[in-house]
């Protein structure tokens, strides 16, 4: 176990320089974006050039880039202050936090849905390789992987609207927004929720299904399965061992899934009018709200690293071979 502890400590320490390098890359990229926060006001006759200059001064945008970067970094290190949003004039941390609830909720639900659907289907396909259903699931999976999410969202909404389905866009009907929780509100949520879950989840389901199927096929043909059979174990026990072994690589995929669900669904969230962080981030990008963009990117980077670390830890706990190596 001490091996594992030192492994975790090492990984945590490595995260510090990694985050630092990522922050530099993010900053350079946001700097390279042409224009700045004030560009959007340049052709507004209500806003005089003096006002723009005053704002530039107030926001510190007149300072050189490296100065702004180190100031931002210093405040994070010394005060854990990720800076202010230029447009909302509030700490970016608060703004991101306000929008985290539904983001995490929908992400976790989506991941849960993906696993609940993809794993059993993958197992079924592997044990019934080249059957009609296997082909059909594979076809659907490929379509799911290749369809852009926002497009699927539009198609689903189009059909739903045309069939007279009213619960489209957002997570609640206007009447339930802000109302205290009740059974009716929960039902209303479910009526709205299935479209986003399908849209955001479907490419992940396809991918997971393919991985599960391939892994299991590899394992089924491995020598130890032949040995198990040779020893006379019944088929269901053999299958149980096969599935257990095939699940291992999926654990590392799970670690990668979290940041994907956070950042990979921005356009779909805009189209579906979801109150998640994606559309908010997109707006911040367009408005050059630099510290908000940076902090969000850093958050994604952090989640990715933590996700990887958790995956590695659970893999080590699950698989003695990795632990010993």
């Amino acid at each position: 176990m001490s091996n594992l502890t030192s492994f975790i400590v090492r990984r945590l320490l490595i995260m510090i320089p990694t985050m630092f390098i990522i922050s530099i890359i993010c900053f350079v990229i946001t700097e390279l974006q042409p224009g700045d926060f004030l560009s959007q006001y340049l052709d507004n006759p209500r806003i005089s050039p003096e006002q723009i200059e005053a704002l530039r001064n107030e926001l510190g945008l007149d300072k050189p880039a490296h100065y702004r970067y180190f100031l931002w970094l210093k405040n994070i290190v010394t005060k854990f202050d990720f800076g202010y949003s230029f447009s909302y004039q509030r700490p970016v941390f608060d703004l991101i936090w306000e929008r985290m609830g539904w983001t995490i909720g929908i992400s976790l639900l989506t991941i849960l849905l993906q696993w609940l659907i993809a794993i059993p289907l993958g197992i079924f396909s592997a044990f019934n390789q080249y059957s009609f259903l296997d082909y059909m699931f594979s076809l659907i999976a490929f379509i799911g992987i290749s369809l852009p999410e926002f497009f699927l969202a539009l198609v689903l909404m189009f059909f739903a609207l045309n069939s007279g389905y009213m619960y489209i866009g957002g997570l609640f009907s206007p009447d339930f927004l802000g109302a205290p929780w009740s059974f009716a509100k929960f039902v209303d949520l479910l009526k709205h929720l299935w479209i986003p879950l399908i849209v955001i989840g479907v490419s992940g389901i396809g991918g997971l299904y393919r991985v599960m199927r391939a892994n299991l096929l590899d394992v089924i043909n491995a020598p130890f399965i032949t040995v198990l059979r040779a020893r006379g174990l019944n088929e269901s026990t053999v299958r149980k061992h096969a599935i257990k072994n095939a699940l291992n690589p999926l654990v590392s995929i799970a670690g990668m899934e979290l940041p994907n669900v956070f950042s990979g669904t921005i356009i779909a969230s805009i189209v579906l009018n979801l109150p998640t962080i994606g559309p908010f981030f997109y707006n911040a990008l367009l408005n050059h709200d630099q510290y908000l963009v940076m902090s969000f990117l850093m958050l994604i980077a952090f989640i990715t690293q933590v996700g990887n670390l958790l995956a590695d830890i659970s893999l080590a706990l699950l698989d003695p071979r990795i632990r010993i190596a």
Binding site: L42, P45, S48, M157
Partner: protein
Amino acid sequence: MKKVLFSMFIFLTVVLMAADFFVEDKMLTSAPQPKIGGTLRLALPSTPESFLLYGSLDSSAYSVIMGPLMSPLVEYHPITNEIRPCIAKSWTISNDGRQVWFYLRDAYWSDGKPITADDVIFTMQYFVMNKYARGNSVDRFTIPDEKGVNKPITWTKINNKVVRADLPSPYGAFLTSLTAVYIYPKHKLEPSIDKNDLASVNKLWLSNTPASEIVVNGPYKLSQVIVDQKIVLERNPYFFKKDLYGNQLPYFDKLEYLIIKDPEIRLAKFMSGEIDYADVSAADYPRLKQLELAGNSPYVLFASQPVGSTPSPVHIAFNFDIANPKLKELFRKTEFREAMEYALNRQRIIEEIYNGLAIPGGGLVLPTNKAFYNPKVEQLMRPFDLKKAASILDSLGVVDKNKDGLRDLPDGSTFEFTILVQNQPKDYQQIAYIFSDELKKIGVKTNLQILDSSVVGQMFGAGNFECGIRAFGNQPDPQLRKAIWQPGQQLYYWHYSTMNRNTTPPSPVFAEMFDWEKKIWEIFEKAQIEMDQKKRKTLYDEWQELYYKHLPVIFVARQMNFFGANKLLGNVVQSKEGIPTFTVWTSYRK
């Protein structure tokens, strides 16, 4: 509890009996028996960044504040655009036009405190004339005195209900400019201002302020903010407007804004009846109208002649200060720009891009703006005539010398220029395409440069373009567009050498101006200090003619306006000119 409620009720009744109500116009409250109560639902593209108008430059904040939450001293009549009383029940102007007294009505904040002269002075001092406030209006309320020195308009409290404005010189657009000054409560805000750091006002009433802290004087007060989903306003029981029949306004109990970023979803929600009112584009109008005519839509659509500030009328500009000396010489010639106007096929643009639902020109002042429009410009617009365009170019020596099918400059090099245009809205680039297509027919080579709007704005601002397509919204009073149309100003971007940026504020460079530009410059100066509206109109008439004659920019077209309202909304009225009007305080659900 009952006792408290009862005494509150008594207090409210007493206050309302003492209140000095503004009785709303018959045009807006024509229904004698409106139904009171219910919820009005509108859409917003994002959560407002602030609830302080002067601390923000956010258009969602503007939508919620200007009208629904806050009231100005004087306001535009929603239909006729005349200036009428609001918080000020009347005003008087001194004979020399340099002093204006405003008499405030007996009206109350949403917390029951009276609205006084102190609130007006406070708003002016800490917000409107505070150069550190993001949304300040220092520029609009600083005007030259008779010696030409810029001075601020000052405000003095005469007594609790009277304030006086002292103007350095008469200022024709003074009341017009005041319509955008919304009055904020001193008693609520002053304690939070750091007097040593006037930029601190920008941090007041941000999006996370508790609703109960936000004290207003508009028809509704803030009740709930559900981040990125919904803003709920509820009736302000102290609002000072009544209808003709004695009902206190607004009619609705609640006004909800659903936050919907994507315009398609907004439209879908409007079509399904979830949202009560929507602006519709020329591209969507035919489809929606069909559904309405088929009889199964929950809405009615209105089409009107162009009105309001958006969608902005598009124009084409040639850079007078371009670095290339040969192009510069050409672009500065009025004949060249005339040739370009002859080559501009407005009819084709209107048919192909706007489904026929636009008017030619439409720049400067809209035809529906009776106070300032000069109909003469319609005759001054040069009709589409490629032959004429070609012959003018011939006479300027821009002819095809090497017989490659393209016109050449007098020195033999190919004549070509780049048209800079932003990628959104789509009609801008479509106009660029049609313009360039017609020019090709007379041997003029053009290159299209389509870029993201923020980049394009910067390029225009730096004078870094050859030919550009751009648009600025209309305003009811030309004075409010001075920063664009007067030579030597910040947005006179096609001829920036008329502005000396090394002085603060920038000053005009007369040596760089053409005679007609000097004339335009003078017109704006004269009209600004003219209080007689008729004389102002005569001055601005001449300004419009000068623009259409000398073509500093060529106006292309302006879309008509399309609105949709839920069938069940009452008091959505259409004026004689076809302009539908809808206010959040006079509409009700049938």
